[in-house]
Amino acid sequence: MSAAHGDHPKFLQHHFHSAEQQASASKLGMWLFLAQEVLFFGGIFVAYGVLRFLYPETFLAAHAYLDVKMGAINTVILITSSLTMALGVRAAQTNNQKQTVLMLALTILFACGFLVVKYFEYSHKIHVGLVTARSFSATGIAGSPHIFFSLYFAMTGLHGLHVLVGIIVLAWILMRARRGDFSSAYFTPVENAGLYWHLVDLIWIFLFPLLYLVK
């Protein structure tokens, strides 16, 4: 529907009056979407809280089996990716197409790096049987460690899925940036993708201490 009509900017959809209205509408929509994401993750965080309250010793004993080093590396990777994302938005706002593309590419790279680290963590856990309740086979941990590891997989798995979605979204934005869709007059998609990416980062910032740094 965004076909050009004479004096119309190409990106302006027909049902909006102005680029400003379109931009503020899509940003509000994005924030609302993020609000529902927060509540979505809120549920699983509450579950974590309740179960940790029910099994404090288990959580303490089981968390030692997570690899803090890998978790820390991933934390650094994600925070850096948030920086490159922010720089990418800035570059789009200042008409710097080359830098926009570069920064988006870097962000995607970091996101992939995060998943690679996660893959090594997961495969190790699965290998030693630290998995969800029904197939849990590791021994020697006090309490009901399967609950901790179930939560670990549920929470980081859900987060990992969001990272994956982020990569897809960022790749799409990257493609559009290369095509030259964005300028100082129109950069909302970059900004919105950035907002999403920051939220994904933020959730990890909570997951890391809750799971890896119980003590």
Partner: protein
């Protein structure tokens, strides 16, 4: 406000005579891939009404089984599946999308005076997701059918070894509801953004129709509550498949946690269902009594209050599930608090009717039905929120009757009222008014016979979700049998009323009298300003909102006629381009008139409008500076359009000559 004008490229579409959103494009694909909120609304309407019928037929099966104390129609397992399916379809597939996604989609942008919702693609996506979720939920029937009840309580739903849950049916159903939730969230995001960003110039928050307020409050709940259900069902699915020990007590989980999670969504969801119903009533009660709403702001703000309180009362579903007494007491007190904003609404509606010019047409009959039924539903809610009485009536037919009075007697009745109210605008056809009234009466009677008797059953101790009823005492059994039979007969009357409605509405689509006027009810909100049925882009030119949505000055509270402060019968909203066009383009006007075969009323309208336009001009100096500026901009625009229109008229004439 109006900086960039409407796209010139669309102008030609606007000018096509007799073109509307229904016939502007043809073919099934033009519907399935449409971005037009009106078409999406109509598709939602068709879909939800279809599943209303399916869910209703399942309810009839349940009622028929209960005619006799013995289980002669179904085995217990089948009965459980039937009532689960009835509940799940009615709640997740029908009621939740019915008013917001079906009627709301159609009406909301029109009421706001905008061309579409903020995100038309997401709007279409939400409909597709709704179909996908529905498909999943229906597939669960083939996969073995769920018998947990629509609430999917753990541990029954989480244990793969129990009963009919052994199959994969429950997973399909959970995923179906999970997916349906996304559809609901997307609709909510879309509507909130649309209300915030897309209102017509001059439409402040307190000049919005109350329908918008209700839908807005609903959308807030949809966005904030539904994701909690999503994560809950997702966790339950993982619990079922991999075993994570969150809900399953056998693995160390807490089944009551599931109830907390579930009701954290599903109680607000009750208000996702009723707030849109209330929103519709706020419209019907003014339009069909030709009287300004009593207490605009209290009604608007009470919608928001209900939305907020709705998040704080979920524990009243769990008084008997072992939560702490303190928690129960707090939840009980908070639940009573819901009665305050709700009562504000009901009193305001009744006060609106007082000394109004009430037309007892079909929409108004549904509106009055709502006032009775919803009040009964609301007041019996107080019995349930009182801790001591709730222990007695918990899980009995009293609760069943209570929530049917609110959900069906409230939301569905309001939905039917709204459907009849906007039907002429949506379809351009009149339904048969006499059949409409008759059916409304049947629905009202049938509903009360069906569900009032269940209050009696419940108070006598008849538990819900049983397919047989054998009591130790023969007296009690006789009482149960009698009232169950009354209830079942009532359900047949109710069904008769609803099927009659279905038939005359379908009939009206093909044989109904065409709606000649834009505003058959004489309403004041913007959706009545456009053509009937609306043109593809809603308005010829963006309307400007100058007055409140219910400024009926024919009748004022003291019976004195026009309000003193307002300029008599000036139009409340102006569709400027149309006016300009009509004044300056008699040729095109005549052509239109010829085709519509309605010359005389048109001419009269034209005169009236010219008169209005004059008055409008006289009024201008009064307007604030800002408004004046906006108008100026629009006038120049109108002139440009005029030139265009003339050019077009010429080419039209030439085309005509060519044809000849």
């Amino acid at each position: 406000m109006a900086t960039v004008t409407t796209a010139n490229g669309h102008a030609s579409e606007h000018h096509e005579v007799g073109s509307n959103y229904l016939n502007a494009r043809k073919g099934v694909l033009s519907w399935l891939f449409t971005l037009d909120h009106k078409r999406i609304g109509v598709m939602y309407l068709a879909g939800t009404l279809f599943f209303f019928m399916i869910g209703g037929i399942l309810a009839l099966l349940v009622r028929t089984e209960l005619l006799t104390p013995a289980g002669d129609l179904f085995q217990g397992d089948t009965y459980n599946r039937v009532f689960t399916l009835h509940g799940a379809i009615m709640v997740f597939i029908f009621i939740i999308p019915s008013v917001p996604a079906a009627l709301g989609n159609f009406v909301l942008p029109l009421m706001l005076g905008t061309k579409d919702v903020a995100f038309p693609r997401i709007n279409l996506l939400s409909f597709w997701i709704w179909m996908l979720g529905t498909a999943f939920l229906l597939y669960s029937i083939i996969a073995g059918s769920v018998d947990t009840g629509w609430t999917f309580y753990t541990p029954y739903s989480s244990d793969p070894q129990v009963g009919s849950q052994a199959g994969s049916a429950i997973i399909w159903a959970l995923m179906g509801v999970f997916i349906l939730g996304f559809s609901s969230i997307l609709t909510g995001v879309n509507f909130i953004t649309t209300v915030h960003k897309m209102r017509a110039p001059g439409m402040t928050w307190t000049k919005m129709p109350l329908f918008i307020w209700g839908i807005y409050a609903t959308a807030v709940i949809q966005v904030l509550a539904t994701p909690v259900l999503a994560i809950t069902l997702l966790l339950l699915t993982i619990e079922r498949t991999l075993g994570i020990g969150i809900f399953d007590p056998a693995l160390g989980g807490d089944p009551v946690l599931f109830q907390h999670f579930f009701w954290f969504y599903s109680h607000p969801a009750v208000y996702i269902m009723i707030l849109p119903g209330m929103a519709i009533i706020s419209e019907l009660v003014t339009v069909h009594s030709k009287k300004n709403i009593f207490g605009y702001k209290p009604i608007a703000y009470s919608s928001m209050a209900i939305a907020i309180i709705s998040f704080l009362v979920w524990g009243h579903h769990m008084f008997t599930s072992g939560q702490s007494e303190l928690a129960s007491t707090v939840f009980s007190a908070l639940t009573f608090a819901v009665a305050v904003p709700t009562a504000i609404k009901v009193f305001s509606w009744v006060a609106t009717l007082y000394k109004g010019s009430i037309s007892l047409n079909t929409p108004m009959l549904y509106c009055l039905s709502f006032l009775f039924l919803f009040t009964i539903g609301g007041l019996t809610g107080l019995f349930c929120s009182t801790l001591a009485t709730d222990i007695h009536i918990h899980d009995t037919y009293f609760v069943v009757a209570h929530f049917h009075y609110v959900m069906m007697g409230g939301t569905v009745i309001a939905f039917l009222g709204g459907l009849h109210h906007w039907w002429p605008k949506m379809t351009g056809r009149w339904y048969n008014e006499n059949w409409g009234r008759f059916a409304a009466a049947l629905v009202f009677i049938g509903f009360n016979v069906t569900f009032f008797s269940q209050f009696v059953l419940g108070s006598q101790g008849m538990p819900r979700r049983y397919h047989t009823y054998h009591s130790a005492s023969p007296d009690l059994k006789a009482i149960f049998t009698k009232w169950h039979q009354v209830s079942t007969v009532g359900s047949y009357i109710l069904a008769a009323g609803l099927f009659i409605t279905l038939f005359y509405l379908l009939h009206s689509l093909f044989r109904g009298k065409k709606v000649a006027e834009k505003n058959p009810w004489g309403a004041k909100s913007l959706e009545w300003l456009t053509e009937t049925p609306p043109i593809e882009h809603n308005f010829h030119e963006e309307p400007v909102c100058l007055h409140g949505p219910y400024d009926y000055d024919e009748i004022s509270p003291d019976g004195q006629g026009a309000g003193a402060d307002e300029d008599d019968d000036s139009p409340l909203y102006l569709d400027k381009k149309t006016e300009a066009k009509k004044a300056e383009e008699p040729k095109a006007e005549e052509k239109k008139a010829e085709e519509k075969k309605a010359e005389e009323p048109k001419a009269e309208e034209k005169k009236a409008e010219e008169k209005k336009a004059e008055e409008k001009k006289a009024e201008e100096p009064k307007a604030e500076a800002k408004k004046a500026e906006a108008k100026k901009a629009e006038e120049t625009k109108a002139e440009e359009k005029k030139a265009e229109a003339k050019a077009e008229a010429k080419s039209d004439d030439e085309a005509d000559k060519d044809k000849k």
